[in-house]
Symmetry: C2
Subunit: 284 residues, 2 copies
Amino acid sequence: MEGPERIEYEDRSQAPIGVFDSGVGGLTVVREIIRQLPGERITYFGDTARVPYGSKSRETIIRYSRQIVRFLMTRGVKAIVVACNTASAYALEELRPEMEVPVIGVVGPGAKTAAEVTKNGKIGVIGTEGTIDSGIYTRFLSNLRPDIQVLGKACPLFVPLAEEGWLDGEVATVVARKYLEELCHSDIDTLILGCTHYPLLRSTIAKVMGESVTLVNPAYETAISLRRLLQEQGLENKSAWMTEYNSCEFFVSDAAERFQQFAARILHLTTEDTRQIPIEEYQT
Amino acid sequence: MEGPERIEYEDRSQAPIGVFDSGVGGLTVVREIIRQLPGERITYFGDTARVPYGSKSRETIIRYSRQIVRFLMTRGVKAIVVACNTASAYALEELRPEMEVPVIGVVGPGAKTAAEVTKNGKIGVIGTEGTIDSGIYTRFLSNLRPDIQVLGKACPLFVPLAEEGWLDGEVATVVARKYLEELCHSDIDTLILGCTHYPLLRSTIAKVMGESVTLVNPAYETAISLRRLLQEQGLENKSAWMTEYNSCEFFVSDAAERFQQFAARILHLTTEDTRQIPIEEYQT
C-alpha cells in the first residue's frame, strides 16, 4: 500500500509508546502504564474488528500482529508493548528480529514475577485457549526455574463475562468456580492471570481461589519492565506536563463507539476521539 | 484479485446451496437443511477468523458478507442462505440487488412463524447485540402485524456458553436466568431464538421461560422457506443418491480443526476435510 506519512520525533524520548491488543483487554495494561509512567504518551491500537485472538491460529495472529506493528510505526512510536497474551505467545519472537524499536510482551514479565513469588514451585496459569494451548507460560517458567510445575486452564467465558461488566455477583462466581475447580484442588500457591481481561475479574478469582494463592497480574509487571527498558535505553520522557487525558491516542479496527463505552464503563478511562482505521491495508 | 475458476453446473438443480455464518453457529441451520432437504448438496462457509459479527458495525458486516457471497459464487451455488442473524439484519437487503441467485436470511422466516404463533401479540426476541440493536425483528414483525409488541434482549454470553458446550447445568441456568429475567416478568407468549447458537441452549431457555412461552427456532423455519423457494424456482435437487456425509463441503477463514471439533462435539456433524481459505482476498 501507499502508507500514510510516518510521524518522526526529533527527540525520541518524546515519542509515544505503542500498545496493542486484540480489543479492549489491553486497556488494563494502558491503565498500569498511566499509573506507573505518567509522563509517557501512549498510542493504543485495539483490533476490535478481528477480536478475539484466543481462538485463532498462530499464522493468523502473526499476520495480524505484523499489520498492527506497521501501523504503530507510522505513529512514530519509540517502543511497542504487545498487551495481548495470545499475540505475545504466538507472534512476539517472530516479529522481534523485524522490529526497529524495542518490543516487550506481557508473558515474560508475568512469568518472571510468578517464578519469584512461588514458594512451592507450583504455578497455575489461566488464559484463552490460544495462550494455554501454546504452552508459552510453561516455556518461560521452565527457562527461569526448571523445577517449576505449571498447571494451565483455558477459561473462554471470562472475556465475555468481563466485557458484559459482570465482574462479580452470581454469574461470575459460578463460572469462576467451574473453571477453577481443578486448580483449587491442586496445591498451586501462585496463579498467573494470563489474559488482559482477567484482572477485571480479580476479586471474584481471588475469592474462589482463597487466600493461600497469590495472583500475579502481568499488566502490572509489564509496566514495571517497560519503565526499566526505557531507562536502560535512555528513552524515558522526562517532561511532566502531560496528564492522563492528553497523552493517549486510541485507534481501533471497528466500532469505535463500543470501544469507548467499554473503556468508560469498565475501566473509567476516557478514550474520546477514538479513531477507526482500515488495519487490513497495513500489509507488509 | 485473480479469483479461482468458477464451478458451473450444467443442470442447475444439481448445484449446492451456499450457507454462511460468522462461525460455527450456522451449522444449526445446516442441520435443519440436511434434515428437511436430504437431497441437496451444501457448501458452508464459516467466517471463523472474524467471528463474532454480533459486536461489529453495519459497514464491516456488509463488507464481510460481500466477500463471502463472492466466494460462494465461485463454488457455483444455486441459492444462498444467510445463516447468521446479524448478517441477515445488516447485509441482506444491501446485497440482494447485487445477487445472481436467490438469497434468504434467517430473520424473515423466524419472524413470520412468530407472528403466526403468538396469541396475545407479545413477542420476545433474544440475539446478539448487533441483531437486537438493529431492530430487524421488530421491523419484520411490524410489517407482518402492525399491532405486535416486541421486547428485545441481547444475550452476549450465550454464544461462548454454547461454544464451551455448557448447554445445560448450573452455569447455563444462572446465565439464562439473569438474561431472561425481564422477559419472564413480561407477558410475552412467544420467544424468537434470534441467534443461530441459541437453539443449542433450547432446553435451558425453555426451562427458564416456562411452558407458557413458545420458542421459535428460525433455523427450522428457514429450512422450510428454502424448500419452498427451490420448488418455486424449479431448483430442487431430485437425485436422492447423496447422503448426509457426501453432500456437504465446509470452508472456514481460520482454524479448521477447531471448527471440526465443535461440529463433531456439539452438533454430532462430521465436517472432515474442512478447508481454510483466505476470505479477505475475495474483494469485490
